[in-house]
Symmetry: C2
Subunit: 850 residues, 2 copies
């Protein structure tokens, strides 16, 4: 048994600086000791002895899997099985497990022969016991969890902990060494796999796709990932479609369309399918089965090696990548029938086939016969350790799939080399004294981020990188595309390798990014705000993964998952109601406070400062919402940094406070459009009610609003009261659904004085200002809110109130007549902003594209 701990930092080769013409062409290599990737020469076919050893390994893995599901005691069956040896609650999944262990065994052999760094990624995550058993046989499990020893007591503990209170989940999970892929929600095996191989040219990911999972949408489109992988500069995904035929209670679609149709489908996906089949009623001797599969796997790996060789020689045409269709019985090697019903080879083997194993003597004997069919006496020595000739099937050290550093990405993670974002600051001679498209400015800085980090940073987007105005990055890189190219007339910035990954699938982009981050790199996903809900559930799973890994010491921190949401709810002039949804923030804040950060920078400099912070982070999900339309710049860079560092603050220049006295009213804003409207309202108030003491607060870091006991970024109650007061009306203009602000602040002293304006699902096809009017978030309505809520105003200001109402009617009528916003609204600038603040005439043309 090798003793290299799984967490040893690997021997990494420092990548050479990007001397290739454009980033995307350089990549690190040699992250696994002793690797000789893509070797095809000198690989010999296994003899019978080796196949027998492989079969013993497989039997051991299956025995250990069944044991995990059923046994509390008598782990090695050294006495007759009794009811008390069986767990009282039988939980787990058997059906997919023997297929997964079979593949693991054969991959082990191939890896040993070829010294090929390999990550094993199993979509049918319910095969948890099989992966845990394999890691135990590799030795990794005992190295990682020292109480799970390689002896009888260790086997007993291994069994007991499985799906047991205080133990491990029944799925592949963060606790499982060698995994980057939670086995809970289905659909992301291939997108995670491709994310892992981008910029890892030496890595092979053997990605098992369950035929149940294959029915999900995200999986169905992820086959097309092979048009986005570069055969020279990226690694290789070997998809293995595990066609075991059944889900929980139904057959699977791909198992029931015939081999011709399935073959056409996989060919159509761009693959060269290799079919392997073991029928339900097969009586083929195991060694023959093993020989058949070992031969097929060698053929596939030789094929891949040839592709890599051609690619290294400069052939950049897209190959038909090999894949395996692995058609084997569900619950293979389990009881053929239970209670007279076909079990192996049916959906009845999906979960716990003998759910009532303790109930009758007959069932108990079925279980015992099943366990003994693996011949445990041949597999374990007297002490209960796996016999060394079996354990030795595992490749050495980090070549073990359960010990690969690729599956503990934090080990491989290198800090980004971040250029000083202050060099990209926009000039702000006075508040509102210039305008910028915030995301376009960010794009200019990202250009340099890409230049400095040519092999470990990528941008992912569903056809929206340019639409979200990050197109400056194409000055230094391209969109990676391995499908047909038609030439520069139509294919701008499209190339065989590049740092930008675009496919019209939020699922795909998110899955790729997750795989990229989990294997130790950095990146961001830019999307329209409304449609990021498409990946709500993927976000959930990633946040849960991060939360769990925070408490697993051997898992090293990985880079944060960064969202850049633009084309946001307030600027859907093109697209209207269907494109308006700011609720991703609400969704995100349900997850653990230790994981989640939400930022709403109001202008270009604050966006730069925010994103620099996000790209430095570890183990967070950062949600950044920022506009792409021309917007006034409010803060010069030094103030922007200070503001972002605080997360929120009073903008003294915008208010009319008298030092040493409490304000009469607090106007707060979070988000770029709300900030603009709050400032315009403050401008009206300073002209109309010069004696009113108005405090203006801007919030960048939304989590600051929460109680410090609820979120690490939260303000204490004293801090909050100092800013927002404990008794003055607070009019809060918020980017999203108003509820959220109440939810974040309901414990605050002054919460009863808080009035929030936000999005109310009242959108339609209209102009930007009319849109904010529809939701009562506009400057005029905010002034009305102040009049209605400051006791000293009220009826005395009925005239001003009426003028505000009139202004709204005028603005709406103008909009309906001219199709544009009222010039006095559109051209408003903050007093003193000067001529520099002139908004470009085209500012409102364009809206959001899709």
């Amino acid at each position: 048994m090798t003793t290299v701990p799984a967490t040893t930092p690997p021997e990494t080769t420092t990548p050479s600086p990007a001397d290739a013409a454009r980033p995307g062409h350089a990549a690190p290599s040699g992250t696994v000791r002793g690797a000789t990737p893509w070797t095809a020469t000198g690989v010999t076919r296994p003899d019978d002895q080796e196949l027998a050893r492989l079969d013993a390994w497989w039997r051991a893995a299956n025995y250990l899997s069944v044991g995990q599901i059923y046994l509390l005691g008598n782990p090695l069956l050294r006495e007759p099985l009794t009811r008390d040896h069986v767990k009282p609650r039988l939980l787990g999944h058997w059906g997919t497990t023997p297929g997964l262990t079979f593949l693991y065994a054969h991959l082990n052999r191939a890896i040993s022969a070829r010294r090929q760094p390999t990550l094993y990624l199993t979509g049918p995550g319910h095969g948890g016991p099989g992966l845990v058993a394999s890691a135990y046989l590799d030795g990794t499990y005992s190295e990682t969890y020292s109480d799970i020893t390689q002896d009888t007591e260790g086997v007993k503990r291994l069994f007991r902990q499985f799906s047991f209170p205080g133990g491990i989940p029944s799925h592949v999970a963060p606790e499982t060494p060698g995994s980057i892929h939670e086995g809970g929600e289905l659909g992301y095996a291939l997108s995670h796999a491709y994310g892992a191989v981008f910029d890892n040219p030496d890595l092979m990911v053997a990605a098992v796709v369950g035929d149940g999972e294959a029915e999900t949408g995200p999986l169905a489109t992820s086959w097309h990932s092979n048009k986005f992988v570069n055969p020279a500069h990226d690694g290789v995904v070997l998809p293995i479609l595990h066609l075991n035929g059944y889900k929980i209670a139904n057959p699977t679609v791909l198992a029931r369309i015939g081999q011709d149709e399935l073959g056409a489908l996989l060919t159509g996906y761009g693959h060269k399918p290799y079919f392997f089949e073991v029928p339900d009623d097969s009586d083929e001797p195991p060694l023959v089965t093993h020989r058949r599969f070992a031969g097929l796997l060698d053929e596939v790996l030789d094929d891949i090696a040839a592709i890599k060789e051609r690619a290294a020689a400069g052939d950049d045409t897209r190959p038909a990548w090999p894949m395996i269709v692995f058609r084997t019985p569900k619950g293979w090697t389990g009881p053929a029938e239970i209670d007279g019903k076909k079990t192996t080879g049916s959906w009845r083997a999906h979960q716990v086939p003998l759910a009532n194993a303790r109930d009758t003597e007959e069932h108990l004997r079925v279980l015992e016969r099943w366990l003994r069919s693996y011949r445990p006496e041949e597999l374990f020595d007297d002490d209960g350790a796996v016999r060394s000739e079996i354990a030795d099937l595992a490749p050495p050290g980090e070549l073990r799939m359960s010990a690969t550093p690729y599956a503990n990405g934090g080990v491989l993670l290198r800090d980004l080399r971040l250029p000083d974002f202050r060099d990209w600051a926009v000039d702000v001679p006075a508040p509102g004294g210039s305008t910028a498209e915030a995301t376009r400015v960010l794009g200019q800085w990202l250009t340099e981020v890409i230049r400095h980090n040519p092999d470990n940073f990528r941008i992912f987007g569903p056809d929206e990188v340019a639409s979200n105005r990050l197109q400056a990055v194409y000055d230094v890189t391209d969109k990676q595309w391995d499908a047909e190219l038609y030439g520069p007339e139509v294919d701008e910035h499209l190339a065989r390798a590049g740092r930008v990954m675009e496919m019209l699938s939020e699922h795909q982009c998110q899955g790729w990014l997750e795989g990229y981050l989990l294997t130790g790199r950095h990146g961001l996903l830019t999307s329209y705000e409304a449609f990021i809900h498409i990946v709500d559930s993927m976000f959930n799973q990633h946040a849960k993964w991060l939360k769990v890994t925070n408490h697993i010491p051997w898992r090293r921190p990985i880079a944060s998952l960064n969202y850049l949401l633009s084309s946001h709810v307030w600027r859907q002039d093109h697209n209207g109601f269907s494109h308006q949804d700011p609720g991703f923030i609400d969704h995100v804040v349900n997850k653990k406070a230790e994981i989640v950060r939400v930022y709403l920078p109001p202008d270009a400099n604050t966006l730069l400062s925010t994103y620099d912070h996000c790209l430095r982070g570890r183990q967070y999900v950062n949600v950044v919402v920022a506009g792409k339309q021309p917007t006034p710049n409010w803060l010069p860079m030094d103030q922007a940094i200070e503001h972002c560092t605080r997360g929120l603050g009073i903008w003294e220049w915008a208010g009319t406070e008298v030092p040493g006295t409490k304000p009469d009213v607090v106007l707060a804003a979070a988000g770029d459009v709300p900030t603009l409207e709050v400032l315009a309202a403050a401008d009206i108030l300073r002209n109309e009610l010069p004696d009113l003491k108005v405090r203006v607060i801007n919030v960048v870091d939304l989590m600051r609003l929460q109680d410090s006991t609820e979120h690490p970024h939260g303000l204490t109650h004293a801090e909050f009261d100092g800013l927002f007061t404990d008794d003055r009306p607070i009019i809060f203009a918020y980017h999203g659904y108003p509820w959220l602000i109440h939810r974040l602040t309901y414990r605050r002293t002054g919460h009863g004085n808080l009035h929030v304006r936000g999005y109310k699902e009242e959108g339609t096809t209209t102009t930007p200002f009319d849109m904010v009017m529809l939701n009562d978030l506009d400057r005029y309505h905010l002034v009305i809110d102040v009049i209605d809520r400051v006791p000293s105003l009220g009826s005395s200001q009925a005239g001003l109130r009426q003028r505000m109402q009139d202004a709204r009617l005028r603005a709406r009528a103008w909009t309906r007549e001219h199709g544009e916003d009222l010039p006095e609204v559109r051209d408003w600038v903050w007093p003193g902003a000067g001529a520099a603040a002139e908004l470009p005439a085209t500012a409102d043309t364009g809206g959001d594209n899709e």
Copy 2:
């Protein structure tokens, strides 16, 4: 121009009662007047004159489309185009439009020839102008919107309203006659199309799939819908892959994999692809192009007719359904180049190709030449009406795709025949005096719902109908499956036709159900609670559709979309943390109060009553969360009905109030597990603190908590205070994230006294009671909460408090040791429940399967 209004109720044929052996085999027919579906005989090929007329129709549709995007005035170009005629803000999408109008024109011809009821469903929803133009040419638009007349002024209004403040969206939208499919979020064209044809054997849906949309996950898997459609009893989907090659800023994957690979893919999806191509640089005369396509479409429709004929004769093998690959230039017929850059046939034609049409004289002339290229002078008469020989291409009456009653499902909707759910009541001799698996009881009632409604009610689920314990329905129906059948040994309840639709894709299930509802039928979707987040975004779009249609008088109400979420957050003993997420409720309540309902019935009888209510509803989204594990029954049916009718109420039998006095504390619960724990806590309190006046409240209808001004179901403040008091501590045990209860109640007087216990993302692999303990929602902790919050208790009850802490430690230790819950916890029954309440010994075995 025909004058049949689009909203005339169609001549429906009353379906015969289900005299077929099992429901699923009967279906209504003849919903469109004068239809002769699937006619192939007597259809003649079009002559040149007809093709010329068709071409004129197409030019008219394209002219009207370009006009909508660009023109404010001079609608028929009867004077030279000036800057003032052009809209100041140019919004909309041109790229896909001419392809969509071409297909519409040809379908019109075919429908006229065959009298084939057809729904036109366009995935590339950005082609909004094309669909509006087509409906205008059909006459439907003017019938529906009487101010959009068939004259010059009408054309002007048609143009002005498009993507203009107060006008219509740029997408296909609820406002568009003939549509059931919002053109906002992409991915659901095929699942909606298949949902529409289930049980509509006469209906053809021509479903255009955009090649951008084709990259999304939901669309990629929805091709497999053809394994779930019955050729005899359902209608036919004709997929048309609109391969125009580009998205916003990128080529599309399917346009760049070569025809062989694409052909293999589509064959693999189970289709027989017919390829039609017009290259970018084609100089083919239009009539030749039209003749080619008309011939191809006739061939395709003849092929479909033959399949329908074979199916009617009893052939139930799955056919290779025809589909069309429609490869035409993006922005076809638009300017070839703009500013020297290739426009037609590139992504530059995606949106508004001449975004600066007003800026220069040159651009203005490009626009004018483009518009005049359609020869408007040949298309409109002196009054500005479309010439009759062109308009007559439209089929008659309801055969017009823009006037089909299938696209206004409420017109076709028949009430469900609902059996009296009280007949399925479980016997509750005393509170907690019996146990049941709530969803299993519901399943028994649904069995009769299916029996009584054999052709307009379906259950959809991602392989979870049986797992969620609705399997009683298989007594009367089957799962519909048109892929290979292996026989009853493994294929239980699988048949060529049936009321249950199962595929392992929440997207597919939701899309099918939406299509089914939008065409006037009823149904429900059952899913695991955590994974319903997968369709967050689809829910958003459906809720927005309902919200908009509520304000469109010609749209008739459709049946509510009903969710049954089981396998919920508190019972994931198998699956652990990855399967725990109660946040769909939070997501849902962001949408308009007029649309959204959330129910948490605590037991079987309340679930029956709730679901009866849901199946009677119109225009709502009903979210029902209910457990599938054995749980005590609390209310006999008469009380259950009363409780559900109120939505929430005091359970006097559970509390220890003294009539006429205020309670000392309120214990409230929403959800089955919280209800159990609250009652167990109330039991402890009545024993330990017999003088404490405890009020127990149960909440079924979550929206009752909200302010009556915020939600139509909301309690007034007086009502709320009467129930929850305005000054007593409220300990609220809630099924989901505790925030939501604060959010719903923050305006209530007593909100400061409210303490909520709920799910905190603190799950792990454990037993049911340990799970509630992890989140401090358990009976012992609720008692501690009471001690800590009732001023008269506090330090005087330190002893009881300590005993509660000890009980928790004991329960946890037992769990860790035995893998089961402490017997005193597991076997607890409400006092007086009697022997009947004995929980079955297997109650905790099994957990949630997946």
